[in-house]
């Protein structure tokens, strides 16, 4: 079965600084990859997804992610973080055939003024 590792439990960045959240996956073939964001007390919102093609994908709220097959990674980036980006971020991998999804443990982002 597929699995996801998010090595960073908690990251703090200053407002306006760049951001990179790491995600490594394990899957026997090319996976479907997702990033979700969860604001406090809310459900998960889809930021972006990768199925195939261009390995750099753009999402909502100015986020992007790059799929690197050789590193089994799908890191999330944002050039300039806003205070409203403070949230928990989840990487997920979906099995191509069944669509069943496995989530990482999440990375909590704190944004300093």
């Amino acid at each position: 079965a597929q699995s996801v590792t998010q090595p960073d439990i908690h990251i703090t960045v200053s407002e306006g600084a760049s951001l990179e959240l790491r995600c490594n996956y394990s899957y026997g073939a090319t996976p479907y990859l997702f990033w979700y964001v969860q604001s406090p007390g809310q459900g998960l919102q889809l930021l972006l997804k990768y199925f195939s093609g261009d390995t750099l994908v753009q999402g909502i709220k100015g986020f992007e992610a790059e799929f690197k097959r050789s590193q089994s990674s799908f890191n999330l980036r944002k050039p300039s973080v806003h205070w409203s980006d403070a949230a928990e971020y989840f990487c997920a991998v979906g099995a191509v055939r069944t669509g069943d999804m496995r989530f990482g443990a999440g990375t909590r982002l704190t944004v300093k003024p």
Partner: protein, 114 residues
């Protein structure tokens, strides 16, 4: 279009009590899921359903039951609540087989068992 609706939003149960967490979606999605979210553990799949009348166990099904009598509804039942079931529960749905369509999540139910 309401998406995925979960009720209640909050609930406190005593040990041994039972309750049903409701989940309804109005998007005509075939696939529905129940996850629990514990701090530092991400989301763990409890049960899922690929269509009305069909359900299957996920990673952590013990202590829970589900049914899927209609496409819209996928309730999660706790028969004998235990403190280990204190968690935030999320229902999700998606339309197509295959993962190309991401999940739509409800806003969650925060359950405390005391």
């Amino acid at each position: 279009n309401a998406g995925v609706t979960q009720t209640p939003k909050f609930r406190i149960l005593k040990i041994g009590q039972s309750m049903t967490l409701q989940c309804t979606q109005d998007m005509n999605h075939n696939y529905m899921y129940w996850y629990r979210q514990d701090p530092g553990m991400g989301l763990k799949l409890i049960y899922y359903s690929v269509g009305a009348g069909i359900t299957d166990k996920g990673e952590v099904p013990n202590g829970y039951n589900v049914s899927r009598s209609t496409t819209e509804d996928f309730p999660l039942r706790l028969e004998l609540a235990a403190p280990s079931q204190t968690s935030v529960y999320f229902c999700a749905s998606r339309l197509q087989q295959g993962a190309s369509y991401g999940y739509t999540f409800g806003s969650g139910t925060r359950l405390t068992v005391v």
